[in-house]
Symmetry: C2
Amino acid sequence: MAPERPVTVALDGYGAERGFDVLAQGARLAAADGIGVRVFGPERALGLSGANGIEVVDTTEAVANDEDPVPAVRAKKEASVVRAARDVAEGSSAAMISCGSTGATMAAATFGLRRLKGVQRPALAVQVPVPGKPVLFLDVGANVEVRAQHLAQFAFLGAAFSAAVLEVRDPSVGLLTVGEEAGKGREEVVEAGRLLSQAPGIRFVGNVEGRDLPAATVDVVVTDGFTGNVSLKLLEGTAKVVAAAVGDAARSNPLAAAGGLLLKPALNGLRRELHPDTTGGAILLGLRGTAVVGHGSSGAEGIANAIRLAARCAEVDAVGRTAALLAEGGAGRGALAADTDA
Amino acid sequence: MAPERPVTVALDGYGAERGFDVLAQGARLAAADGIGVRVFGPERALGLSGANGIEVVDTTEAVANDEDPVPAVRAKKEASVVRAARDVAEGSSAAMISCGSTGATMAAATFGLRRLKGVQRPALAVQVPVPGKPVLFLDVGANVEVRAQHLAQFAFLGAAFSAAVLEVRDPSVGLLTVGEEAGKGREEVVEAGRLLSQAPGIRFVGNVEGRDLPAATVDVVVTDGFTGNVSLKLLEGTAKVVAAAVGDAARSNPLAAAGGLLLKPALNGLRRELHPDTTGGAILLGLRGTAVVGHGSSGAEGIANAIRLAARCAEVDAVGRTAALLAEGGAGRGALAADTDA
């Protein structure tokens, strides 16, 4: 589905921990794919003037990582992440992406893009970097405390995104908890399982456990933002530690070293597959526009992948299709409308 | 610290998923180390009569995995896990271990062994199977919902066990949450952090994140039983999936296969290190006796390691030293006594 005109993405020019050069390089890589990039950052430091497919909107204010996100976003109307969100709301860009503070990106996107009809809480989703079939995992940090209805909504949001953007047909959805049997887990999780097992329009397969995430037994795994955030960092950390230990094993003696050398090309593919940068970052689901939260520590390729993910969401009209699937699948009734604190 | 007489461990003869033969073989392996084993299970099926260092107390009742643990343990006074707990309470064994239902083992141990003075909620702890320095992780499933005071107690229980049994000097303790800064996370986690940062007698280093667990940045990681259970299964699952993917990479082409063959001995060591069976299972902390929860899926070596862990706890008087450290470190005041629902 190649668009007639290139999709344009609004990129927060601040927040990349490796500096403006790496961010600029990421923008160039994405632009080389035919994606239009509007960068909100310091023109001089970015050094992107005249770069093909890239427009820099000179911006010198930013929300720092250590600022309280909500008040900072409310106060700084001209901060880069706020301007990027406004660019999407005004229709100049089709999606936004920031590698800065996750909280500030969520706040700017939620205020700037607004929630889809019926959605109480937007959720942050990632494609989990496990070998083989990707798993969509949410919420990975937007809501540290949730109610049952929120979890049920996350299931619908995740299923809709999985179908629309990841092209999974009739995605299976599991609820993360401490045992397979219904009734295992915190009160709100048990209640969410009950709501989902009765909800039409979703293929809810019941409870899943921690091991199901790396084993990819379902297409979408739903949890609260506390458990999800801890789990995602744990998963990334474990993959990294195990990969490093394999490297250590390969340096432990000369025979193993020879083996490691022969094995290296095959292992490099795996390392790429497991690297968080490969999937491009997290997507904030439930809004009337696309917002991608990139990794602050990303290299140029990781930033480019985050821009590509944002562009892809726009190209396939992820928001429109999510809204349609939500409406179809009972967004306006049942689980999703059971209570409203919106 | 070799004891004059061998330590005797009460072993639940039911619950090992691989059958009575594997359980019996595990008992033999542990007995060969000089540990006395009293097995509560079906004498004929176990085939252990006359085995050196092993005594079978013929028992034909058991709590099944699908039974509701608390009522089952209350009703079945002669069930194997209940008798094993009673054996410790009566002083015939020094510690108990079961590979059956975790819930039943916790219920039998809590009713049979009772809680240490001042402890509100026993917690389940494991040594996390990561390469290098082991990390004690709790609670991994005893309490799916907790209050701040419970989390603060888990920190003391974990630190005491780490010092007494794992011989870590002045263990560092971290609180698992979604960000390093104080104030990140669920309400009860933030409050627990506040309590611990003011508590004497514990080296509390503040918040840790999911990645700190595999990276072993602290000696003890504290969380609630929901997050801990999900995290532990996720960690074990990820290590397994990554190890399998390394194996797949080694079979992807002839050169890689040759490399994999040369690397194999070094990788086998790592695989052993990462395998859950290596650490022998989880320990229920906060009771007046030692109870070990083995893996239901353990092989003979895993069961033997669980028996060895129970014996080791008894040999070093883990319970007495934990009680002493709790009393010393503020068990009777401050965080631990701030509220009592005992």
